[in-house]
Assembly symmetry: C2
Homo-oligomer: 172 residues x 2
């Protein structure tokens, strides 16, 4: 049910259309909670039916701009304070590690090397992104920066782990 609340959260600051939200998901939220167009439009309809958002303006080309309602904001707060985040994540990258034994050591190293390279690249990109942003002191900046820092630390951790793992796979 997180998509639901992600949409509510994005509507806190300003009204937006499905199309606007779709772009937000494709860019800034893509690394945290990817969502497709069909999912977003569908969920918006459900949220409007539930009264958590309303169509506040109809624009050209059938554009519908949604605005958060008071019950919607209350629901967002309830979600944040009263429900526990779901922590069960799936990691395809890590799952494969369990089965590297069926490959040759060289193939296993190739895999880990690829992961290290990927993580290193991501880390560099995030650093560049961080440097390019002029961080303010407002809420969006504070929490946006905290989220970005998570990405930086995570990618650094993955990079270092993969490099360390490489040293553990001996030739046999």
């Amino acid at each position: 049910m997180s998509l639901r609340h992600a949409l509510l959260g994005l509507l806190v600051d300003h009204p937006a259309s499905g199309y606007d939200l779709l772009k937000t998901f494709d860019t800034s939220l893509a690394n945290v909670w990817p969502a497709t167009q069909s999912q977003i439009y569908g969920e918006l309809t459900k949220l409007a039916d539930a009264g958590l958002i309303v169509v506040s303006e109809q624009g050209p080309r059938g554009r519908k701009e949604y605005t958060l309602t008071d019950p919607g904001l209350a629901e967002l707060r309830r979600w944040l304070t009263e429900t526990e985040p779901q922590r069960t994540t799936r990691s395809d990258v890590l799952l494969r590690v369990f089965f590297l034994g069926v490959l040759t050591p060289q193939q296993a190293r190739d895999y880990l090397d690829g992961q290290a390279a990927h993580a290193a690249e991501l880390h560099a990109n995030l650093k560049a992104l961080d440097d390019s942003i002029d961080w303010d002191d407002d809420d969006l900046s504070v929490y946006g920066r905290i989220a970005l820092e998570y990405g930086r630390r995570f990618s650094a951790m993955q990079r270092d782990w993969a490099r360390w793992a490489l040293t553990q796979v001996k030739n046999k």
Copy 2:
């Protein structure tokens, strides 16, 4: 399609029944790729239909023991070497961070504090687990240990990040 390959991977070492595999998923694989009973039994049937595994023995209580076939092993190897791991993960924990601005600073800190505590606990548990295992030099040990090390580093990173984030949320 990872569940499919996870099952193939588990059948490499020794034949197993759906029930056996279910227990493996609930224990050792739970943190990497959780799966429910209905999923596992369903997927095993599909894998058998596809000829990637076969029923090698029928036991008491309708027990069906599955064994990996050569095409099954080939498919596992193909998956490991020729397909890229899917890296799009969803993080409920991180998603919420984006919206902490709608709460009071104190509530936001409570949230981060909870995450720090949770990560610290997980880290301690993994360390204890690591210490309790007698690691050998075989494949299972090497790659199992690499996977466990990932968990250790990940939980440490989350713990430290949450603690750092706490210092970023000022009273206003």
